[in-house]
Subunit: 406 residues, 4 copies
Amino acid sequence: MDFAYNARTEEYRESLLDFMDTHVYPNELRYERELAAAGDAYVTPAVVEELKTEARSRGLWNLFLPDEEWGAGLSNLEYAPLAEISGRSPFIAPDAINCAAPDTGNMELLAGFASPELQRRFLVPLLEGEIRSCFSMTEPDTASSDATNIDTRIERRGDVYRIQGRKWWSHGALSDRCRVAILLGVTDPDGDRHRRHSMIVVPLDAPGVRIERTTTVFGYVDHAHGGHAVIHYDDVEVPVGHLLGEEGGGFAIAQARLGPGRIHHCMRLIGMAERAFDHMCARAHEREPFGRPLAEQGVVREWIAEARIRIEQARLLVLKTAWLMDTVGNKGAQVEISAIKVAVPEMAAWVIDRAIQTFGGAGVSDDTPLAALWTQARLLRIADGPDEVHKMSLAKRELQRYAPLD
Amino acid sequence: MDFAYNARTEEYRESLLDFMDTHVYPNELRYERELAAAGDAYVTPAVVEELKTEARSRGLWNLFLPDEEWGAGLSNLEYAPLAEISGRSPFIAPDAINCAAPDTGNMELLAGFASPELQRRFLVPLLEGEIRSCFSMTEPDTASSDATNIDTRIERRGDVYRIQGRKWWSHGALSDRCRVAILLGVTDPDGDRHRRHSMIVVPLDAPGVRIERTTTVFGYVDHAHGGHAVIHYDDVEVPVGHLLGEEGGGFAIAQARLGPGRIHHCMRLIGMAERAFDHMCARAHEREPFGRPLAEQGVVREWIAEARIRIEQARLLVLKTAWLMDTVGNKGAQVEISAIKVAVPEMAAWVIDRAIQTFGGAGVSDDTPLAALWTQARLLRIADGPDEVHKMSLAKRELQRYAPLD
Amino acid sequence: MDFAYNARTEEYRESLLDFMDTHVYPNELRYERELAAAGDAYVTPAVVEELKTEARSRGLWNLFLPDEEWGAGLSNLEYAPLAEISGRSPFIAPDAINCAAPDTGNMELLAGFASPELQRRFLVPLLEGEIRSCFSMTEPDTASSDATNIDTRIERRGDVYRIQGRKWWSHGALSDRCRVAILLGVTDPDGDRHRRHSMIVVPLDAPGVRIERTTTVFGYVDHAHGGHAVIHYDDVEVPVGHLLGEEGGGFAIAQARLGPGRIHHCMRLIGMAERAFDHMCARAHEREPFGRPLAEQGVVREWIAEARIRIEQARLLVLKTAWLMDTVGNKGAQVEISAIKVAVPEMAAWVIDRAIQTFGGAGVSDDTPLAALWTQARLLRIADGPDEVHKMSLAKRELQRYAPLD
Amino acid sequence: MDFAYNARTEEYRESLLDFMDTHVYPNELRYERELAAAGDAYVTPAVVEELKTEARSRGLWNLFLPDEEWGAGLSNLEYAPLAEISGRSPFIAPDAINCAAPDTGNMELLAGFASPELQRRFLVPLLEGEIRSCFSMTEPDTASSDATNIDTRIERRGDVYRIQGRKWWSHGALSDRCRVAILLGVTDPDGDRHRRHSMIVVPLDAPGVRIERTTTVFGYVDHAHGGHAVIHYDDVEVPVGHLLGEEGGGFAIAQARLGPGRIHHCMRLIGMAERAFDHMCARAHEREPFGRPLAEQGVVREWIAEARIRIEQARLLVLKTAWLMDTVGNKGAQVEISAIKVAVPEMAAWVIDRAIQTFGGAGVSDDTPLAALWTQARLLRIADGPDEVHKMSLAKRELQRYAPLD
């Protein structure tokens, strides 16, 4: 277990920290204003494009992608502290360095499983930050916490696959830059439970694709993510070459995608918790109800101590998980991936909630970023598998070690 | 401690339950649709006016007002179960029976402290449900959890008071039906700390009143409440007769207003928790991830048991508080009012959060009412005094009983 | 729901409160000393006999027994506040007023189901406070949280029943005054799951009864209870007339016994929590680490506020449960009995734990009663059915109300 | 941050794990029996001496002592996993490898600050495992969580120091092997607050030393620790050479002693939590109430998952703290030492409590080690500084980073 930052990580960290200080934080207000002025939550404000140019010129680009050919070639442990930093300004920074979900996962899939033709058409512009993408897995009418329940149909008809189904929580689809979806559906309804599904690339302008709306998250439309779309796929046809990997391999690919996706979310959440911690401590010095600053009041100090303790523990568990993924692979790190998926959103929600409380009315409103940050943490107790599913699978694995011999 | 429903309460309960079943619940969807169609969150949908007519024809009107001349003349204990029922559909029902915040508190003030002229002009149309009102107390730049900090100025200039200040969290001001504000400000800056403030009635169309915007609550604009407005009062002049009570009496009046206001919120929150409980139990039977209904899974059962235990305890404490207010007065019930103000929002937030979790993605979105309900509960851990202030004052009072004799 | 104390309750309360102030509290130290001097945890100190005489002379005797012929004839609601008061000094007061577990439950059984002969032999001396009794139900080798698992055999052999089995957690057996056990065993192994068991009276001096030891509770031998004995019943023979009720009725009788037993425990636990609260508040005024009394430190105030809020809620739920048992019967109050069985020990453990923390080292030691009180609360999260069993049964009952119609 | 076990650690780990498997666990029962047979809780059972011989022959001896001359010369990071393993059998293993508190801290002090004469007389036999020692700091009549409150007097009278005071929680004094105390007292009552105290070595057979009794810990006398003694020091005289370090240096030395002491406790607590986890998982497979093993019940699985998540996080934080102490010193690691002092006992108490619950009655009794383990964890929320003091100091330090510039 060596979590030390190596020279490469240190270099990236310094560069990214400087970028945050000089370009990201100073532009958060401008971002809000441009967004408000646009009158459309899903338009990309001009400031984002400027930030992307700046970030790229500094080499802060596609850091998430372990593939050295297409991306920065960083290990999970190397990327972890960088993702955390980007999470401190989660509505701008990940996008600015082209490391925003759900594009990161989609780029991984395209880099690993798409034909050269598809890579040219979608992966390259994604890596260039020219377009964005969405991921269509969950369905409104099935218990998708068990992914084998999914029942959108993908039927082969000669040279094309015909897709029929309705998805929701298709993260990213509403962004004005979104051009393509990666979709999970059933190619072999009678196949083995884990061999029924395939994953396929669907251009959003294909006939039959219709975006109905976003679902909200505690009142937010999650603009930075590009929303969480309800999408109808009505007899959409795509060439057979759009399949990722092989027929029946969808479930395995989805599992592979979720491991890194989950840890990336956790990394960024730690950054959000740190940002909330900053706000809480600054506020504690500034606010003086009843004649004494909050910073001198026992209950607030208790929150601050608890917050620091929780953040540190969560960060170490994420680093250990990253290190494990790098050394024994995603499969070998399953207990830990489940563990952070449960622990980190809970920790972040708790820390942000306490920060909100120190701000009173400003905390629940958009006059601070805290309320929006909290919803991100709360959503992740459900998204990518609810807490309860991860706990059950973790417990099962632990219990196996104690199973009586027959 | 007799919490039994008397005959009058029973009669009202039956009538209100029937009204909910036959008119409110069946119209919730229509309400959502009319609101969406209006394209303005603060327009009152037509369905609300219909419901008001129906409710009034059934005698379900102004139930909150203990004043027999102006209102239903119910005691707190009699009103409690009715407010709870209205809380089950909190965006429609309280308005439909003309028992919505912040109008209830404002009507109490006008009934108790306004001149006949003001009562004719504002109280009567409020009691008729023709207009709505807002309450302007909190200020963005001061720690308003200590109400003595408030510093909006109310200066006497001959026959008028001139008002200068900026308020926020002025609940209700954005409703298309809102016509009048009740404002707390400083009339005597050098007076005793609890005698500096006065309360005054300000028509919203008075020159110098400018509503800037609403603050949001976790992404919601709180349409049913009429938003939480930021209001500028720039040299607004109102006749001296607009003062409520006497000069310097503002703090005392504010305190008097907050007691009933707090318990009403708690009563409705219990209704919200019960509604969430209904949703959770129904969902538990319906959803079957991993081949077994949630209703048979231990963790969900634990939530349901915990939820029932918490709701019951909270309800009993609210009933005891109502009974105390009726028998020994609001002052004698201060410990209990603080206690429910802390306990009930926390309970409701917990129950609703567990219900959200059973719904997964649907729970955090507006496809169920749960996310919006949760924000109401969360807001009330801050509004009308944050938890911490209530706990400190409660503890102080308890500790007094044990103070060593000198 | 009328929880008001009636005249009779008020009279008893005043008398009992005076008895506590003048006789119980002043003798707690003497009790500890006599116990220590005896060198045997299960000897009854002389002070207890004196207190019994005094209590009885004041009519504070057998208050728990609703049967008017044998006992005070109080309803559950009338007894609740009295049991709470006795719980404030739980190692002396319940015994002093002849209302200590497990005798109370045993006396109820003997009053309801025993032959006149058995009543003469055991019930009368129990009611007189001359002897004590124990209850033998749980077994070490079976999961007794499901009472149908019990497998001690009770076999009819002509005019006698022969008993073979091993029991533990037989509360009370080690007291020097203990003379008799009530035992649950299997009379019909092939019978219906709920008709297999019978309950029988076993004199402790019967050949074959052997008390092995007490189990401890966090290091305590629970002297006031008379310990929790492991008892061997090796071919013990008792006359057939020793059966309580009818053959096969044991499970039903046990259930009947547990309802009142559970609420009595809860009532006393509230008294223990109040006692801990007293200690905590007094300590908060007295102790001044870092130059300021604990009473002025935010975290301690938060504990005090939380403690008061929790105690109040728990007490109200117990009162409601008592009232329900009185009005609709123990069966109709099952949800509430489970609810208090879960909520009250948890509340009491929490309050006592916070009191311990304010005392530091003295809190965990026997220099205050807090550590011992805490173990009583913790034990009750397991005894008479662990929390989890009560929650599951409560949830099942709640879920039934929402079951879909087929 | 490199937490990897190096070759030396790995070698020790293997050796220690083997020793635990082959000698410690198999002798736990014998230990209990010998202790019971002795009829004196503070006699050292013969098995312990045998284990010591065996351990020493394997080089498993004085591992805690970083001083290479006197001890094994391991860094904190190297010792951490070994201390954790010894914590799995905390009543035997630490003693068997001569790494038991409070001797470890005392040996550190003697190695660092005692005269060669004192080292010969006390340090050598301690290192040899021939005698044990106690630590006398806390006082019953002062708020010792603030160590500057201590007021036992140490007065110079020519060639001797005369000591007058009363201490409690003097860990270890009752062991039949205990020969010496290290005591903190006031040498300069008028000195600066942090320069008033000195530390001194007191042979237990010095005239005037009187051990009154042990305080209990939830009913336990803490035999393995040698109890927590109340000690009277009545005009005890020791040669001036018995002072550790310089006059006035006591507070600084105490602080230095507490850093390692605290992390050692935390390391062992993680071992205790792991042991409880083992018990819980084994029990979950074995017990089948209501016809299904606990291992298949959702609530128990949730506990197991939560326990694993909490243990992992706590362990990582302890490792990080050890690494920091090794690299930047105890002072630089103060935030982290406070953090683990708060987080680890809480975690351990939680895990053990859940294990207790899976065992029901056996869990709270001494039929499993769980109840005793729990009291160790609970005690450590108070001992060596209560949680609240550590949280306040941690928060203060964090808040400094955000202090506004004047």
